[in-house]
């Protein structure tokens, strides 16, 4: 090639390399950034619920015995309608408003059971124990059992389910 066509700055090879690398990076970014959105967008969507759930008459729940109430909520996850199951322990005491515990262990979200013999909630996953008031007796949970906000309408009991 005659020298008058030669660039003083770079040779042909380095020019081609730089152009290839920058075009390649641009194309990778144009495809790559939407991919991140593609992955995380379902995580950002609101699937939560904010409902008052009726637990029926207070008379269904005996005094001083945490009693499990199961209920299902239908949610749409992606393309599927699925029924999510929840459990709530209702504890009534004479002359006091009832307390309603979530049955979700505060450690890693297994479900706790009421052990009537020892008067304790027991989580089988990592051997956690809570007393009848939901306080941690032993095991790994970082805090007492969560309580639902309640509302009394005559003798009808409602709990406030918020999620997401």
């Amino acid at each position: 090639m005659p020298s008058k066509y030669r660039s003083p700055v770079m040779d042909r090879r380095s020019f081609v390399k730089i152009v290839t690398a920058s075009l390649g990076s641009m194309m990778a970014a144009i495809v790559g950034l939407p991919v991140i959105q593609y992955f995380i967008s379902p995580a950002l969507g609101k699937t939560g619920s904010d409902d008052w759930i009726s637990l029926g008459s207070l008379d269904n729940f005996p005094f001083d015995l945490p009693t499990l109430f199961n209920f299902n909520i239908t949610q749409v996850n992606g393309w599927e309608r699925s029924s999510m199951s929840y459990g709530a322990f209702v504890l009534r005491k004479e002359g006091q408003d009832p307390i309603v515990f979530s049955d979700v262990c505060t450690h890693l979200s297994c479900r706790v059971n009421w052990d009537e013999e020892n008067k304790e909630f027991h989580c089988p996953c990592h051997n956690a124990f809570f007393d009848a008031n939901g306080e941690v007796v032993s095991g790994p949970p970082p805090r007492p059992l969560d309580q639902y906000e309640i509302r009394l309408d005559g003798d009808q009991l409602f709990i406030h389910l918020t999620e997401g």
């Binding site: 991919v35 959105q37 593609y38 992955f39 967008s41 379902p42 992606g78 393309w79 599927e80």
Partner: protein, 219 residues
Amino acid sequence: MAENVFSWLDERLGLKAIYDTILDRKVPKVNWWFTLGSASLFLGLMQGITGMLLSVYYVPTPDHAYDSITFIMTGVQFGWLIRGIHHWGASLLILTAFIHMLRVFFYGAYKYPREFTWITGVGLLISALGMGFTGYLLPWNQRSYWATTVGSEIAGTVPWVGDFILRTLRGGTNLSALTLSRFFSLHIWIFPAIILATVGTHLYLVIRLGISHIPDKDS
């Protein structure tokens, strides 16, 4: 710093030798028709990447396939883009691969010692058509359902073994959940594995033998 890291790696991995062999190899004077192999490779890689991404949401069962694709198109951000690239890239890949084949044919580039490269190329074209045939069913809409009905029916017209082929394709007498799941398996595992191995052989041969020059008056 970067240079030190590179030379440390190069000394152990021989990166420069790989680069020289693959990208700095000697080629005769060629024209734009010679870019179609690389174009097909690039499109194939894009199909692989977008396909993996689609499998994040797609479910190959009759009760969820259509809904999961509707969700990809409307419920996931940029889902339309990922599926669009996969959809249009599929047709474009067949086109580039086919024109690539015509170039090799008309320039006589399939001749000695490159016959086996041609044979692997034929295998790749057939596998790509297999990918197209199996992928077409996956949306599980009316078009895919009837296209597969007709396609497997055509395979069923083969003398003597036709009925066997038809049943094997469908996983039974009828188009069913079994058909969908076996087409899915072929589409994401079996054909890709075959294609990966064959592309490897194809590229190895291109690099080992070099590419032939455009025929001149003497040849």
